[in-house]
């Protein structure tokens, strides 16, 4: 058995095997994360509102998400009559590309990373723009006023919040002197960057809540005004692909925040990968907590907050960081 594996590795080459194994691992993490997070979200929501949450299927309702996903798999795929078919079919597939690409560069542990690319963070930021594009063509192709309004809002919001997101990561790149996520995590052996850059951390976190369309900024899918926003017309597995992407994006922004500000996989006693997941899920919990704490903001408040407060503050932060590093 062992000989066979070594033979295969020798024939196709180490890098290929590493990539294939890594991608399989990524799929497992994506699916496991989404299944666990739907359960966690409902449990957290329940307890914050003094309810219990799901409890019927399995112990503590743990199997509820499995039951739900089987139900979604079995559902008929309805295609409304007037949709722009190619765009309508393309959108749920396209939203998954950035999710998978992003996972390739995230360092889960010192050597537990699919591939260390020396422009790692740029890969994440570049491909995350595809999310907006897929929301746009999904909302536009649906031929539904709610979808269209949701999509337009999503684009305006993402354009506004992508700038502070980028600007808040730049001071860290200055300090670590590298675009590679592993180098950045390694640079925090002594002190976490959140100590040097508390303002950048806050800006990043606020902007990432907006980028993932989570609650205080969930205008693209505001249930009370827009039915379900851009994915109103999607059902069955197509809907669940959007859903999966949303939960994976929550994990991704938290993982980036952990890598950039909270020391990545570094921590005492426990192995790195355990620390990485503990920190990431702590941040994900904060995101869930936000949802049941803050009311939804108005659209003009949302845009004003980004353009008039976050962007100038992050520019100032960048300027001061650059100045201090140069002296």
């Amino acid at each position: 058995m062992c000989d066979t594996i070594i033979n295969i590795v020798n024939i196709v080459g180490k890098e290929v095997v590493r990539t294939v194994v890594g991608l399989i691992g990524v799929f497992i993490v994506v699916l496991g994360n989404a299944i666990m997070l739907t359960w966690t979200e409902r449990k957290v929501a329940g307890h914050i509102q003094r309810r219990i949450g799901p409890k019927e299927v399995g112990p503590f309702g743990l199997l509820q998400s499995f039951a739900d996903s089987v139900k979604l798999l079995g559902k008929e795929l309805l295609t409304p009559a007037n949709v722009e078919k190619p765009l309508y079919y393309l959108a749920p597939t396209l939203i998954f590309v950035p999710v998978l690409v992003t996972f390739v560069v995230i360092p889960f542990d010192g050597f537990l990373q699919v591939k260390d690319i020396n422009t790692g963070i740029l890969v994440i930021l570049a491909f995350s723009s595809l999310t907006v594009l897929s929301i746009l063509i999904g909302g536009w192709g649906s031929d539904n006023k709610y979808s269209l309004i949701g999509a337009v809002r999503s684009v305006a919001q993402n354009i506004a919040y992508e700038i502070p997101l980028l600007l808040s990561l730049l001071p860290i790149i200055f300090m670590a002197n590298s675009f590679s996520l592993r180098d950045i995590a390694e640079a925090q052996r002594g002190v976490w960057f959140v100590v040097y850059q508390p303002i950048a951390f806050l800006i990043f976190f606020v902007a990432s809540v907006a980028e993932t369309n989570r609650t205080p900024f969930d205008l693209p899918e505001a249930e009370s005004e827009l039915v379900a926003g851009f994915h109103t017309e999607y059902s069955g597995m197509r809907f669940s692909l959007f859903f999966l992407a949303e939960y994976t994006n929550m994990f991704i922004v938290s993982a980036i925040a952990v890598t950039f500000f909270l020391g990545g996989y570094q921590g005492p006693v426990l192995p790195g990968v355990v620390w990485f997941f503990i920190k990431t899920y702590a941040l994900v919990f904060v995101l869930l907590w936000f949802r049941w704490t803050f009311p939804r903001v108005r659209f003009d408040q949302l845009l004003n907050f980004s353009w008039k407060i976050l962007i100038p503050v992050s520019f100032l932060n960048l300027l001061v960081t650059g100045g201090i590093l140069k002296i």
């Binding site: 765009l87 690319i117 570049a126 595809l130 536009w140 354009i159 675009f179």
Partner: protein, 167 residues
């Protein structure tokens, strides 16, 4: 190097297919999708040329910012996708042909005149080199471009203020 050539040809074909879709498709949103495909193709060419930083910048700027802005503008002007493309004006066709031929011959002349050096070692340019080039040797053109962009921004702000009726 059959494998590398095959990859190169695939990238070029994707880029050209995107460009053709941009020009020929009857609906403006499909034209945009074609443009996005072309931009990804060009990014792929940069990756092929061992310049991953440029490739990522290409996607970040042209797909992430410019295409999304174009899409945003399309959404604001209403549902044009049900209208067929207008080829009605012969003048339009003539103008397009003149511009296309002119640029084709210009590029052809430049490409045929250039001396293509054969590198002994694989070409590589790091992010650091690009930074050095931009902020050290080419500071003046870089600043000029920044000035141009500032002028454009101020102009856009002024135009939007005037159209709202505030003077």
């Amino acid at each position: 190097m059959i494998f590398a050539d095959a990859i190169f040809i695939i990238i070029v074909l994707v880029t050209l297919a995107g460009a053709l879709m941009t020009v020929l498709s009857g609906s403006i949103i499909y034209a945009l999708m074609g443009l996005v495909t072309t931009m990804f193709g060009i990014a792929g060419l940069y990756v092929y040329l061992n310049a991953p930083f440029l490739a990522m910048m290409q996607i970040l700027i042209y797909v992430g910012a410019i295409s999304v802005l174009i899409a945003f503008a399309i959404m604001l002007i209403g549902p044009l996708y049900k209208r067929p493309k207008e080829w009605s004006y012969p003048l339009k066709l003539i103008a397009a042909a003149v511009v296309a031929l002119f640029s084709f011959f210009m590029f052809a002349k430049v490409m045929l005149k250039a001396q293509w050096a054969v590198l002994s070692k694989p070409f590589a340019i790091s992010t650091k080199d690009i930074g050095r080039l931009l902020f050290d040797r080419l500071t003046f053109p870089f600043e000029l471009i920044s000035l141009l962009i500032v002028v454009a921004i101020i102009g856009a702000v002024m135009l939007s203020l005037y159209s709202r009726g505030e003077k």
